[in-house]
Amino acid sequence: MSCRAPYFLRRALRSGAAWFHGVLALLSLGYLAGSIAMGPPVAGGKLTPSFFPLLVGVLAVLLCTLQWWAALRAGPPSSSAASAQRSESRRRWPPELLLMLATLVYVLSFQTLGYGLSTLAYVLVVMLFFSGLEKWPIKAVIALAITALGFLIFNEIFNIRLPTLWG
């Protein structure tokens, strides 16, 4: 017996928007579940801390589900938009995703490597994302200048102590 997904689910899998709306609906559902777990909204004639989250959670679940349903009904994007989307998805590592990862690495290494080293590397990576690898030594010098400018602004002018490599 073939185990085919319902038609509307197959349509949903072809639309990135439906995926995103679905994720938001799940997120809202999780929030609502968390609100319910906090206890009853009214206790001893008084409103408890779960009252407002319950209200917001119900509203969010309702709206997100409607939005998701609307995306499912709309189906996948038109053929030209779909082909653009396919070519986009063929790029396994879109630059914005790489920038998210680079920022994550920067945040994680900020305390360990210190401001100077981590910021220099991060700024250089951001610059390379925006303008490509050509003339990278010049870009490295500019990145160094931007890092120095940041140090001047935060550490020297505004007296904010930034982490260093050796504590």
Binding site: G16, A17, F20, H21, L24, S28, Y31, M38, G45, K46, L47, T48, P49, S50, F51, F52, P53, V56, G57, L59, A60, L63, C64, L66, Q67, A70, P95, E96, L99, M100, T103, L104, Y106, V107, L108, F110, T119, Y122, V123, L124, V126, M127, L128, F129, F130, S131, K139, I142, A143, I146, T147, L149, G150, I153, F154, F158, N159, I160, R161, L162
Partner: protein, 509 residues
């Protein structure tokens, strides 16, 4: 009258070189950010926010005011020269400015834009100085139930103002409200949604929300649309060199536009500014439509009529004064910029609300003085002195610009608590905001939901506790009934009644 005297006396602060430096630097940064398509003055303010921890609060507020004013007029540069508004508020300017540019009158169009911005900016700021204390006195009459209805009114209007996108705007606002409930409950010592993490028990700070939604998401969005931005930069290279004397509009042209056009548009801009979620683009649009409607030569619009530029630019700059009214008198921001200004107050331990004008007049007066100074002096001066170099400045290398923005945004989010947790929150919220924007969700409603959420919850719970859970109290208390009726009026005009239609291809932002 006392407050007006305080504002007048605050001009003396501008004689302090440090204060003047921050006001002028803020104005230049605001102009640059609003002139570059895709970037906004909101981003400039978001990047400034971390610095306000170390900066004197008066100076910080004055710098915020100058960035705000610059943000409303800087967009006219690329709107006129390459038909791409640097900021949404200059959208209508492009309709008249670009045709003027095509017939070789681009600098004159920019001169008209600067002059109208000056008139509108001063008009809005002066009206704010005159009316804000009166509105603040009236706001003291609003009780708990009324405050709840007022915040609901603001949230609903901000959501329905996102025409054609209301459901997404509502979801975005709900996400903001959800984020606002993380941490200790305001009325009982119970941690909510903290998942056992100490940092989350203290709640999510405003800083990562602002920097994440406006700086990190912008960085990611700009990278995603890098190819298009490169094409815009190439187009800017083709713009002819501009001479300084070409900027000054002749007196005859100003007379032809007429004082009535400047004043009426400024008043429209000011009134629109007081509404939550409306903003400079809506102000400019309505003033432009009104000018076309009442013009003797309506057919001349869209073909390079300076009157259209005057209407749009005087209105969008007058919005600055209007938008500060609800923030200063009720503590309710109507747009992202006033939300960030509110953030500056909160960071410095100042509670915005009806008492603010009375208890913190010493802080608010210099900010309004800076608003007037920016409109009256900095707008025309910047246009005259830097006008010929604008195109070169706007063509700044994108890799250098975004490398600097990335550094300021991520390190700036570290400043609040000296912890990488804030940086991580900034990144997470930035990624969320990026995907929200990718799928058509307005992030402004997320920010305002986050800011208005705690107040809404507190007043709602108080109201329902005092009324023993009876919601009809919203209809029996006169102050809340007023805001409920006002909400219904706005729903009628913005949702039920068909809004003003634009020509094809135009949109109010």
């Amino acid at each position: 009258m006392d407050f007006m005297m305080q504002v007048a006396a605050s001009f003396g602060l501008l004689l302090n070189p440090t204060v003047l430096f921050y006001v002028v630097a803020g104005f230049l940064v605001g102009t640059l950010f609003s002139a570059i398509p895709g970037l906004t003055a909101t981003l400039a303010l978001a990047l400034l926010l971390p610095l306000t921890y170390s900066l004197d609060v008066t100076t910080a507020l004055m710098a915020c005011a100058s960035i705000y004013m610059a943000g409303m007029c800087g967009g006219s540069i690329t709107a006129t020269t390459i038909n791409i508004p640097g900021a949404p508020s200059s959208m209508m300017t492009a309709l008249e400015g670009y045709p003027m540019q095509q017939r070789g009158e681009g600098p004159l169009a920019l001169g008209h834009a600067a002059f109208a911005s000056m008139i509108g900016g001063v008009f809005g700021a002066v009206l704010l100085v005159v009316l804000a204390p009166l509105i603040a006195d009236l706001s003291l009459l609003v009780q708990t139930t009324g405050k709840c209805a007022l915040i609901l009114f603001a949230l609903i209007v901000i959501v329905i103002a996102q025409r054609g996108n209301v459901r997404r705007a509502a979801i975005s606002a709900c996400l903001g409200l959800m984020l606002a409930t993380v941490g200790l409950d305001a009325m009982m010592p119970i941690a909510r949604f903290s998942f056992g993490m100490g940092e989350l028990a203290a709640g999510i700070d405003l800083m990562p929300v602002i920097i994440g939604t406006f700086a990190i998401s912008e960085l990611l969005t700009q990278l995603a649309g890098n190819a298009e931005a490169r094409r815009i930069r190439e187009r800017l290279k083709g713009v002819a060199r501009i001479r300084r004397r070409d900027f000054i509009p002749p007196y005859s042209a100003i007379r032809r536009i007429g004082a009535a056009c400047y004043l009426k548009s400024s008043l429209i801009g000011y009134l629109v500014g007081t509404l939550p979620g409306a903003g400079g683009s809506m102000g400019g649009f309505l003033a432009y439509v009104e000018t076309v409607r009442t013009s003797r030569e309506p057919d001349s619009f869209g073909k390079g009529n300076p009157q259209g530029i005057a209407a749009a630019e005087s209105a969008n700059n007058a919005v600055c004064g209007g938008a500060l009214v609800p923030m200063l008198t009720f503590g309710i921001p109507g747009d992202p910029i006033t939300a960030i200004v509110l953030g500056v107050l909160v960071i410095n331990g100042i509670q915005p609300g009806p008492q603010l004008m009375e208890s913190q007049a010493g802080l608010i007066a210099p900010m309004l003085a800076s608003l007037i100074f920016s409109a009256l002096i900095l707008i025309p001066l910047t246009m005259y002195l830097l006008g010929p170099y604008f195109i070169r400045i706007v063509r700044i290398r994108r890799d250098v610009l975004f490398g600097t923005i990335a550094m300021l945004a991520v390190v700036g989010s570290y400043v609040a608590t000296y912890s990488t947790f804030q940086m991580m929150m900034t990144l997470l919220l930035g990624v969320l905001a990026f995907y929200l924007r990718q799928y058509g969700y307005p992030v402004v409603t997320l920010l305002l939901g986050f800011i208005l959420g705690p107040g809404l919850e507190e007043y709602l719970r108080r109201t329902l506790t005092l009324s023993n859970g009876d919601p009809s109290v919203f209809l029996t208390e006169p102050d809340s009934l007023f805001f409920v009726l006002l909400t219904l009026v706005f729903i009628y005009f913005l949702v039920i009644r068909k809004p003003v239609q634009l020509k094809s291809g135009e949109s109010p932002g």
